[in-house]
C-alpha cells in the first residue's frame, strides 16, 4: 500500500474485492449494502479518493433512483385517480343522456315524455327515435309528450315534434302533446303546421284524465286491471 514514485499503487486484494463486491451490489440496485461496504473502508490514501468518489456517485445514483420511484408512484396514483374521474364522468354522461329523454311508463300502456330545457335539432331527433322505440318495446297505446318546460323552440324543431306525434300514430298509438305555452303556440301557428289528428291539451294532468276516461269507456274493466 505504498506509492513507489512510478505511478503504481499497491493495495490489498481484500480491499479491492470489497470495492468489487460493492460494485456488484450497486449493479443489482442494492445501494444500502453497497454504501455500507464502501463507508466501512477506513484507510486514507490515494486509492481512498477513488473509493470516496465512487461512494458519492453511488449516493447520488441511489437518491436519483429513489426520486424516480417516488415520481413514478405519484404518477401512477394520479393516473388511477384520473381513470376513476373519467369513469365517473362517463357514468354521469350516460345518466344525463337518459335524463334528457326520460320516458316514464306512468300507467300500464301510457308513456310520458316530459321535455325540459333547451331543445335543439339534435335533441329533438334523439327524442323521436327513443320515443318510437320505447312505444314498440313497451307496447304502449298512448304517448303523452309534455312540453311545459320549454321556453322557446325553433320552428323546424316544433314542426319535427308534430311529425313525431304523427309517427306515433303510424305505430298504432295515440299521441297527446300537453303543456304548450303561448310562445310555442304562436310558433306553431306562425309556421302553419297541420295540427289535424294531433291532440293537444293544456296540462299533463288533463292528458292523463282524457286517456283514463277514454280507456274506461272503451274497456270498462281495463282501469281495474291497470290499477293493480
Amino acid at each position: 500500500m505504498a506509492n513507489d514514485g512510478e505511478g503504481v499503487i499497491a493495495i490489498k486484494e481484500a480491499r479491492l474485492m470489497r470495492v468489487i463486491e460493492a460494485l456488484s451490489y450497486a449493479s443489482i440496485e442494492d445501494y444500502d449494502s453497497c454504501l455500507n461496504l464502501l463507508r466501512s473502508l477506513g484507510t486514507t490514501d490515494e486509492f481512498a479518493e477513488l473509493e470516496t468518489a465512487f461512494t458519492i456517485f453511488i449516493e447520488e445514483l441511489a437518491e436519483a433512483k429513489r426520486q424516480l420511484r417516488e415520481a413514478l408512484l405519484s404518477t401512477e396514483v394520479a393516473n388511477r385517480e384520473l381513470a376513476a374521474k373519467l369513469a365517473t364522468i362517463e357514468m354521469q354522461q350516460a345518466a344525463i343522456r337518459d335524463l334528457s329523454t326520460p320516458i316514464i311508463e306512468v300507467w300500464s300502456g301510457v308513456l310520458c315524455l316530459p321535455v325540459v330545457g333547451i331543445v335543439d335539432s339534435q335533441r329533438s331527433a334523439d327524442m323521436t327515435e327513443t320515443l318510437l322505440e320505447t312505444i314498440i318495446a313497451k307496447q304502449a297505446r298512448t304517448a303523452i309528450v309534455d312540453i311545459t318546460g320549454i321556453d322557446v323552440m325553433d320552428t323546424k324543431t316544433a314542426d319535427h315534434f308534430i311529425k313525431m306525434a304523427k309517427a306515433v300514430r303510424l305505430l298504432g298509438a295515440d299521441c297527446i302533446i300537453s303543456g304548450i305555452n303561448p310562445g310555442i303556440a304562436q310558433t306553431l301557428t306562425h309556421i302553419g303546421v297541420d295540427l289535424t289528428g294531433i291532440r293537444t291539451l293544456r296540462s299533463l294532468r288533463d292528458a292523463l284524465q282524457v286517456h283514463l276516461r277514454e280507456t274506461e269507456q272503451l274497456h270498462p274493466t281495463r282501469r281495474l286491471e291497470a290499477g293493480h
Partner: protein, 177 residues
C-alpha cells in the same frame, strides 16, 4: 330571420378577424365574454347550459336566453359534426338603450362550408339534401344552421385559412318577460 353576411378571407390571419363586429344597437356600455372549448358532445351540453345561464344573469328574458342557448347548441353541434374541434365564445354587452346584445362566435379548424346558401336550407348540408340514411348516420334534423338564421338577427360566415368562424348576433330589443 337574420341577414347573412359572407366573407372569404383567403389571405387574412386568423387573429385579425378574431373580434366580432360590435352589436348593432347602441353603444355597448358593459361587455363580457365567455369561451367554451368544443371537442365533443359533452362540451355542447356544457356550452348550451352555460350560455343560457349567462344570458339570464344579464337580465334577458327566458325566451331570449332560450334562443341564444339554441344558437349556441346548434353551432356547437356543427363543430362536433363537421368542424373537428373549436370553440364557442359568447359575448354579452349591455346596450345604451338598456338592452342586452348577445353575440355567439363559433370558431373551428374544420373544412370550409362548401356552399353556405345550401347549408342554410333545412334538411341540407353544405353539399346538398340529406337523405334519411345520411341523417341517421350524422344525427339531428339537418336544420341547425337554418335555426341559427331564424333565431339570430345577423349571421356572418367567415371562411379563413385553416378554419372558419360563424358569428351570430341577437341584438334586437328583448321582450322582457
Amino acid at each position: 330571420m337574420g341577414t347573412l353576411i359572407q366573407q372569404h378571407e383567403p389571405g387574412a390571419a386568423t387573429s385579425a378577424s378574431a373580434e366580432p363586429a360590435e352589436p348593432g344597437l347602441g353603444t355597448a356600455t358593459a361587455a363580457t365574454h365567455r369561451v367554451f372549448a368544443v371537442d365533443g358532445w359533452n362540451d355542447v351540453a356544457i356550452a348550451r347550459h352555460q350560455a343560457r345561464r349567462l344570458a339570464r344573469e344579464h337580465g334577458t328574458s327566458p325566451r331570449r336566453a332560450g334562443e341564444v342557448a339554441i344558437v349556441v347548441s346548434e353551432l356547437a353541434s356543427n363543430i362536433v359534426k363537421y368542424g373537428v374541434r373549436g370553440e364557442i365564445t359568447l359575448h354579452v354587452a349591455t346596450t345604451a338603450a338598456g338592452g342586452v346584445a348577445l353575440t355567439v362566435v363559433a370558431r373551428d379548424v374544420g373544412p370550409p362550408i362548401h356552399d353556405v346558401a345550401t347549408a342554410l336550407r333545412d334538411g341540407y348540408d353544405d353539399r346538398g339534401p340529406l337523405d334519411a340514411a345520411a341523417l341517421a348516420r350524422r344525427g339531428g334534423l339537418g336544420t341547425g344552421l337554418g335555426a341559427v338564421m331564424r333565431l339570430a338577427d345577423s349571421v356572418e360566415v367567415r371562411q379563413e385559412p385553416g378554419g372558419k368562424q360563424i358569428i351570430a348576433t341577437l341584438a334586437r330589443t328583448d321582450q322582457r318577460a
